[in-house]
Amino acid sequence: MPVRDLLAGRRRGGVPADLWATCRKCGAMHYRPEFEAGLHVCTRCDYHDRLTVGQRLDLLLDDAGSFQELAGDVLTSDPLNFSRPSGRYPDRVAKAQESTGRSEAVVCGVGHIQGHEVAVGVMEFGFIAGSMGGAAGERIARLFELAHERRIPLVMVTSSGGARQDEGVFALMQMAKTTAAAARLADAGVPYIALMADPTLAGVTASFAAVADVIIGEPGATIRFAGSRVVQGTLSRRAQADDHTAEWVLRRGMIDAVVPRRDQRRTIGRLIELLAPARASRRAEIGDTARTRLG
């Protein structure tokens, strides 16, 4: 490990923090190179740790390098002139942009999974808790519309605390907007697969994520309607640590499967193969048109 990394690492009890990864779920310590080689999965409790958009694209796409971003210049505005103790909203956005290297809490675009051209959206929890405001909602809606126009399957990886409070009802309405866009895609017979990663909460669970044709959960991911602070508050009486995991919602019939990270690309690829509407023949009609239009 280079000295500058050691110095950069925050230290805990004398251990260079960056050299060790602590499981968010069970607290187990993992030697970081091994943890990363194991796709950020806890070997003790099987919790699948949060990934950055970059890590996720690497894992999901055949070739993350050829991913083409859509609507990357759609950025947040500050409709309510919102301010929190932790800072003005635009400053918080700027800080999130800086720390994540992403311009919003969701990155959308086109890539390939197991050889299939796919519309892909990945949420970045590191960006203001992956919250959905107007810009994120706009990007997601455009992604659904792109998949619709080009008749290519859509894959969304969700990780979000819900609607972004700082945009008030503007953020709330993104639930309706993205859900309506997803519903139109379903009517068009184009498959949409959601991969719910840790955590998928509130306004994201209860909108475009829940209406996917097939929903896959990541092991250990928290999936819930109530936001985390709401649950810590007075409203829910008996929520427990093990409630609301992917495994829990699977038992309750809400998702189709819990799939470990190492198998996700293959499983999603297979689902696309099985659900995509007669690709071979349609490609000639629609795919080519889209490609022509796209240059």
Partner: protein
């Protein structure tokens, strides 16, 4: 009785006392005094209500005497037949719905239903719908479309039920499905926020062609208390959250997120149920009659465009979204 109502109420009591003491034969100066006090009450009411803070609006929207969905149905709908149940799990008392006619127009009407008093509030879960409430609503929406009836929804909830049993039965899935169904329902839909428009729990039934809002109703991404807990990590900052969230009808109308503010009688809806219902009826009838003229498939297209346009975002280089070297989002959609 809210703080800011107390002062008005004292005046109101004095008028009532004086009225009780006096009779038709009272001296004309007593009658004149009464008239003056009436005028003063009106002026002071107008004054107080013109200066309400967002937090006071929240309190009005939640006023225990505020008319709820069934109070409106009773006054607005003729021959109402309540229809129960989701045909799957239960009959959620926090959502009521049925068929009836509004000024001669056959409609399906569905709304959140709060209770009054402890027993009713428990029964109605404080107006916080369970998943089966949304699924009942979905069933009625589909019934409306099947028979070509327009849908009216009345929104009045602190939010969807957040209890463990609500999670168990898929609260998120029920809400999302309700929005997805409404988004494509081939019949006119008029939404009216009549009290508390609380978050996703309200929006679940809030996707429509026209969004009306009673003057003192609120509509919010989260309850002020929840937002305070999220933002200030302390629900005591609810008053401040109410100011920050932009939840009043005026803010939302200015932001183009709602279509029309429905005026309430002086002193608020709870001062005069009949007048409030009349005011809402007029607005609903106008909206329904406009929509009835539009073909259902067109309604769905316009409804999509309406919600598609609800945003607040900027584009660093508009009209140039680059995928594969050229724009994929047609220019004509940027306006949405």
């Amino acid at each position: 009785m809210l703080d800011f109502e107390r002062d008005l109420d004292e005046l109101r009591s004095r008028i009532a006392e004086l009225e009780a003491e006096s009779d038709l034969d009272s001296a004309s100066d007593v009658l004149r005094q009464l008239e003056l006090m009436q005028l003063e009450l009106e002026a002071r009411t107008a004054d107080v209500f013109s200066r309400l803070t967002p937090w006071q609006r929240v309190q009005l929207a939640r006023h225990r005497d505020r008319p709820h969905t069934l109070d409106f149905i009773e006054r607005m709908i003729d021959g109402f037949v309540e229809l129960h149940g989701d045909r799957r799990h239960g009959d959620d008392m926090a959502v009521v719905g049925g068929v009836g006619s509004l000024q001669g127009r056959r409609v399906v009407i569905v709304g959140h239903q709060k209770g009054r008093g402890t027993r009713q509030n428990v029964e109605r879960n404080f107006g916080m719908a369970h998943p089966e409430g949304y699924r009942k609503a979905i069933r009625l929406f589909q019934l409306a479309a099947r028979f070509g009836l327009p849908v009216i929804t009345l929104l009045d909830t602190p939010g969807a039920g957040p209890a463990l049993e609500d999670e168990e039965r898929g609260q998120s899935w029920a809400i999302a499905e309700s929005m997805a169904v409404l988004a494509r329902l081939e019949t006119p839909i008029v939404v009216a926020v009549i009290g508390e428009g609380g978050s996703g729990g309200a929006l679940a039934m809030g996707v429509g062609d026209r969004i009306l809002m009673l003057e003192h109703a609120i509509y919010s991404v989260a309850s002020p208390e929840a937002a305070a807990a999220i933002i200030w990590r302390d629900s005591k900052f609810a008053e401040r959250a109410a100011e920050a969230l932009g939840l009043t009808s005026e803010v939302l109308y200015a932001a183009d997120l709602i279509d029309r503010i429905v005026p309430e009688p002086p002193g608020g809806a709870h001062r005069d149920y009949d007048a409030t219902a009349e005011s809402l009826t007029a607005a609903l009838v106008e909206a329904l009659d406009e929509l009835q003229a539009i073909p259902p498939t067109e309604l769905v297209t316009e409804r999509y465009a309406k919600f598609r346009a609800m945003s607040a975002h900027v584009e660093s280089s508009p009209d140039e979204v680059v995928v594969d070297g050229s724009g994929v989002v047609p220019e004509d959609r940027h306006g949405l």
